[in-house]
């Protein structure tokens, strides 16, 4: 207990008697954590975009004219359990027409051509899959099922190139994101590690003297580790406040009518308080862990006497 109190006291003294250096260290760590925070938001945005794109990839299965609505619904029930199917949606001829009219409402010529003829639009089932990469397999399985004679065509053949392109884009996003994450993480680690090493380097004589007086390695090390953790905590708090400030500023700059906090958070459910808490937790844990580990490794080389 005595020892723990002393270690805490030493950490506290170290922090304040090295005033400027501590301030610089906190400043640098704040910046890095801010970067981490912005990066995490970017990451979440990209993942959101990826899942949005994946959701857009679907296949319509069209049916022969003679298939009744009951036939199709029965078929839908049957293929519901096919593995890889995420969602099935029945679109009747009427609904298909309505959709078409809505999408082409400004093209009067087309509207005239279609007129009131529902039979122009075949009924279909829209298939969404859990993994866009598996779309061919899923459609293949559906085509092999019992009542497949009802199927006249699928949109897969027609949309193959678009699907392929979307998938490629998604893969690019995911890989790019991963590579960027790794690079940024390494940079963040290096910067914090070097900053803490610098603060410890200036006190290597102190470590040496403690060692000569007969202090145990852990007695010497703990104050530095606690100091490192403390840098991490302060850095995380400041970075968190700055992150919120930056988002607020961004929203204010972009114009309140269009990009209000509410529309941002309501429209896509991404930019809400939960996200900010998440970012804070990530910054906090990152700061503490990196601070402590950096201190541990930085003191180690001076303890080898």
């Amino acid at each position: 207990m005595q020892i723990i109190l002393r270690i805490l006291k030493t950490s506290w003294q170290g922090l304040f008697r090295n005033g400027w250096l501590s301030l610089v260290a906190i400043f640098i760590i704040t910046q890095v954590l801010l970067l981490v925070g912005l990066f995490v938001s970017l990451n979440i945005g990209i993942n959101y975009a990826i899942s949005e794109i994946a959701d857009r990839i679907d296949v319509a299965i069209f049916f022969e004219d003679y298939a009744t609505e009951n036939n199709i619904l029965a078929f839908q029930d049957k293929i519901k359990t096919t593995s890889g199917v995420k969602e099935l949606k029945y679109i009747s001829s009427g609904e298909a027409k309505e959709r078409y009219l809505e999408n082409s409402q400004y093209n009067q010529q087309l509207l005239n051509l279609v007129g009131e003829d529902e039979s122009f639009f075949p009924a279909s089932i829209e298939v969404r899959v859990t993994n866009p990469e598996l779309i061919e397999q899923v459609v293949g399985k559906i085509k092999e099922s019992d009542d497949s004679r009802l199927i006249s065509a699928t949109s897969l053949e027609k949309n193959q190139t678009i699907i392929e392109r979307l998938r490629k884009f998604n893969r690019l996003l995911a890989y790019g994101n991963l590579i960027l994450s790794v690079i940024l993480l390494i940079i963040a680690l290096m910067i914090i590690f070097n900053t803490i090493r610098m603060t410890i380097f200036t006190r290597k004589e102190e470590i040496e003297i403690m060692k000569l007086v007969g202090a145990t390695d852990w007695y010497i090390r703990w104050p530095f580790i606690i100091e490192g953790i403390f840098y991490g905590i302060i850095g995380a708090i400041v970075a968190f406040l700055l992150t919120i400030g930056l988002f607020r500023l961004g929203i204010w700059l972009l114009g309140a009518e269009y990009w209000t906090w509410q529309t941002l958070s309501l429209e896509n459910g991404m930019f809400n308080w939960q996200l900010f808490v998440q970012i804070f937790v990530i910054q906090f844990i990152f700061g503490i862990l990196v601070g402590a580990i950096s201190s541990y490794f930085s003191t180690r080389r001076y303890l080898r006497i």
Partner: protein
């Protein structure tokens, strides 16, 4: 108490110490003399376990100190006090804290630290400067703080590595007197120096070294190097 048994230390191809053998009895005062590079510092670094011998053994009370477990080293080091030419005080701690610090690392209760530290500062005559920082002290005063710090754990052995190297003759003599006083109080002292006047004035055992070898070991010796 301390036994050097044909100890040799190589740094690469340089022989810093070449088959040195000698023993030290409890409560002895030994002057270790020789010019720079003669091997004095190597002997001290071997004694503090900062370095390990290439050949031979260094034993204290019959135990080879270089076979001690790494984790036991801090406890071993608490039994020997060391004073350096450059004092090695912590600049951001006061005189009192510098001395108390040696006790703090051992987990002694706060009350005892206060009384022991005060006692040591009294012994070295620095009670009035307890709250000053090292940069406010003269060289002689700083060295006395270092001695107080080395003694506060009541070591059996006090090693002084050129303690007067940075001091003027007057202060050097005062420090020497202090070391003799500490020796009278019962602590074994090893004084490494190349200061002829001091060694001659002390008039106790002198071990002379040259090029890593012990060239003379006299009970009441004088500085005999040219």
């Amino acid at each position: 108490m301390i036994q050097f048994n044909r100890v040799t230390k190589h740094y690469g191809t340089v022989k810093a110490l070449d088959g040195a053998s000698f023993s030290i009895q409890p409560k002895e005062f030994i002057s270790l003399v020789g010019s720079s590079g003669a091997g004095k510092s190597t002997i001290i670094q071997l004694l503090t376990c900062k370095e390990y011998p290439t050949f031979g053994q260094v034993t204290i009370d019959g135990k080879d100190i270089h076979l001690l477990k790494k984790s036991y080293l801090p406890y071993y080091r608490r039994q020997i006090g060391v004073v350096y030419q450059d004092f090695k005080l912590l600049q951001n701690k006061t005189v009192f804290e510098n001395v108390a610090f040696a006790l703090e690392v051992t987990g002694v209760p706060e009350e005892e630290i206060r009384t022991e530290t005060a006692k040591m500062l009294q012994l070295v005559g620095l009670k009035s400067k307890a709250n000053n920082f090292p940069h406010e002290l003269s060289g002689g005063e700083a060295q006395r703080v270092a001695i107080a710090r080395a003694l506060v754990l009541h070591p059996r052995l006090l090693i002084a590595d050129e303690p007067t190297g940075n001091l003027d003759p007057h202060n050097a003599w005062e420090i020497t007197q202090l070391l003799l006083k500490i020796n009278r109080l019962g602590t074994t002292v090893i004084l490494a120096t190349h200061n002829r006047e001091i060694v001659d004035a002390i008039g106790k055992r002198v071990i002379s070294m040259k090029d890593g070898k012990i060239i003379s070991d006299k009970r009441y010796g004088k500085y005999c190097l040219s």
